[in-house]
């Protein structure tokens, strides 16, 4: 079943065509990857999906519901969360608080209930805590739960960021270069985790430069170059696509 449908998506920044007429779909329960040389427009597509800026043209549909032109927090409410290329953790909050903050959309205690600590607020707080702790234990981060997030190693911070995005049961998670800054070992582990979560039914869309990982985890790959989609298909198909090879050769990167 189609989870996300992107149709004729375009974006121009004051005359510069960053993304042009891009169309692709994402299947529920799959891992899709958006690849392409630097400046291909991958992050621009991400930013349009997450509502950072509106598309100049085209539509984005989630479960056949139009979500283009919504604001970032509304997109999150629709069920799309994300991680950032340059880590955006709440550095002064503890690890567990970061993850608890990720539960924002699943909970609803307001200022009044929270401020006077009414029973409903207490119950909810316990629920948030338990669930966050489960994730931390799954990620093997429970030891670090009470450290300020900014003091963790890069790889662990990455995991915290993913946990924060995944904990609210989003329909789709966008990962912006999740492997950046990780060593080989860490990358492999993260890839395993993604595959594991896929098995549980989680859908991902990632932008990634590490082609080994992409080929390993992705079910479906979309290739962009100069803002235009030049190929689409399974990893095998993409690896044999001449246009893709040419584009990458042109930018002196080999697959």
């Amino acid at each position: 079943m189609n989870l996300l449908e992107i149709k004729n998506l375009s974006k121009d920044f004051g005359g510069v065509q960053a993304v042009q007429d891009v169309t692709f779909t994402i299947q529920e329960g799959s891992i899709s990857a958006l690849i392409g040389p630097n400046g291909a427009g991958k992050t621009t597509v991400f930013n349009m999906i997450t509502g950072v800026f509106p598309p100049s043209n085209g539509t984005i549909m989630l479960h056949s519901k139009k979500i283009s032109n919504k604001k970032p927090h509304q997109i999150a409410k629709e069920g799309i969360t994300r991680t950032f290329q340059n880590l955006q953790l709440f550095a002064d909050m503890t690890v567990i608080e970061n993850i608890m903050a990720g539960m924002h959309l699943l909970t609803k205690t307001g200022v009044w209930n929270a401020g006077f600590r009414l029973p409903s607020a207490k119950r909810e707080e316990q629920y948030i805590y338990d669930k966050s702790m489960q994730w931390l234990m799954r990620l093997n981060l429970d030891q670090e739960a009470y450290l300020p997030a900014g003091t963790l190693s890069y790889g662990k911070q990455r995991l915290v960021e993913i946990a924060r995005a995944v904990i609210s049961h989003p329909k789709l998670i966008l990962l912006d270069e999740p492997m950046a800054g990780l060593n080989h070992n860490e990358s492999e582990k993260l890839a395993d985790l993604l595959l594991e979560m896929k098995k549980e039914g989680q859908t991902f869309l990632l932008v990634e430069h590490d082609m080994d990982i992409v080929m390993r985890v992705a079910d479906h790959i979309v290739v962009l170059d100069h803002g235009v989609k030049i190929a689409e298909g399974t990893p095998d198909e993409i690896q044999q696509n001449d246009t893709v090879i040419a584009a990458y050769l042109g930018s002196e990167v080999t697959i």
């Binding site: 709440f90 607020a121 009470y146």
Partner: protein, 341 residues
């Protein structure tokens, strides 16, 4: 897994609040003079304003250079409702809260599109405009001649006439306020506010509406300021617009910054330090051999302020809390790791 460690800072603050409550109750028996009581009424009032500001500045990361306006709105609402129209003082306090909320919304919606310096300037401008209203709307506020004859606060048949009664109600409000803020910052809303401070784009990505939560923080701090203003008016019984000038907003900001905006206690600590410092300088500067103190007090105060902030840029409580919590937890982790080996 139990929540003991997670609620540690919450519990610590609760103990602190309980201790404060105890101190508040025994304090009047320890001091020999009523003067300290009235000094602590002022500290309490500033503490209320600054505790609210801590939510806005320390937790949400939004600066305000116009909080004297909310303080003034509370004071004048009480003065006008109870002094001019002879209505129950409690209604004045509530009117102040309502007006403060509305004004906070009106100024917040356009202002929170701005950041940092620009937000500071916008709130500064807002402060000047409210001040001008208080000054020029003479039929209602009495203008620069001031508003005198504000009746004492009164609720359920009890009239607050002496210092001690104001001391208790002001500090009771402050204790409740601290408890409220402590609950708040250890909740979903509090985490949302803190995440805005941490990273706006990440906060949005987990579904936090920046505008709504910034407005919530502003409204909370505006209500705190307004309530403090109301009780100031009833206590002193005379107010004039100059009390709510830009300089007062700056003084609130000074208190929060020297106290440490990242800690629950920063506002109160700042209020105590500020008032205390001014008081001490008044006594000490003449000892250094300067006859009329005024100008020297200002110079000393300025120097102390600069030195303090250079060495403790996060304020006194800020640096202390950080060290305390961070170090103890790091130790915990190391201990555990050691145990595991």
């Amino acid at each position: 897994m139990d929540t003991k460690k997670f609620t540690r800072s919450y519990k610590l603050n609760l103990y602190g609040i309980a201790l404060l409550l105890f101190a508040v109750i025994i304090f009047p028996f320890l001091v020999p003079s009523n003067y300290f009581i009235s000094m602590f009424i002022l500290i309490g009032l500033y503490g209320i304003v600054c505790t609210g500001l801590v939510v806005l500045m320390g937790h949400t990361g939004q600066i305000s250079l116009g909080h004297a306006a909310f303080y003034g709105i509370g004071a004048y609402s009480s003065a006008i409702v109870s002094g001019k129209y002879d209505l129950p003082p409690l209604m004045g306090v509530i009117t102040g809260i309502l007006i403060a909320c509305i004004v906070a919304l009106l100024i917040g919606i356009p202002s929170f599109k701005l950041k940092e310096h620009y937000l500071a300037l916008a709130t500064l401008g807002f402060g000047v405009i409210v001040f001008t209203f208080l000054k020029e709307w003479t039929s209602l506020t009495g203008g620069l001649n001031g508003f005198f004859g504000i009746p004492p606060f009164e609720v359920a048949g009890f009239t607050f006439t002496n210092d001690l009664s104001y001391y208790f109600i002001v500090w009771a409000i402050l204790v409740i306020g601290l408890w409220f803020v402590n609950n708040l910052i250890h909740s979903r809303t509090g985490r949302a506010l803190k995440s805005i401070h941490g990273s706006e784009s990440a906060a949005e990505s987990i579904g936090i509406n920046l505008m709504t939560f910034k407005l919530k923080a502003l409204i909370i701090s505006a209500v705190f300021a307004s309530v403090a203003g109301s009780f100031y008016a009833h206590y002193i019984s005379f107010i004039n617009p100059q009390l709510f000038e830009v300089m007062t907003s700056i003084v609130f900001l000074i208190m929060v910054v020297i106290g440490g905006s990242s800690s629950l206690w920063g506002g109160l600590a700042g209020a105590i330090i500020y008032v205390w410092l001014v008081e001490l300088l008044k006594d000490w500067v003449p000892l250094l051999g300067f006859s009329t103190g005024g100008e020297f007090e200002i110079v000393f105060f300025g120097v102390l302020l600069v030195v303090l902030l250079i060495f403790k840029p996060k304020g006194l409580m800020g640096s202390w809390m950080e060290k305390k919590l961070f170090l103890s937890q790091k130790k915990n982790v190391q201990n555990k790791k050691g145990a595991a080996l």
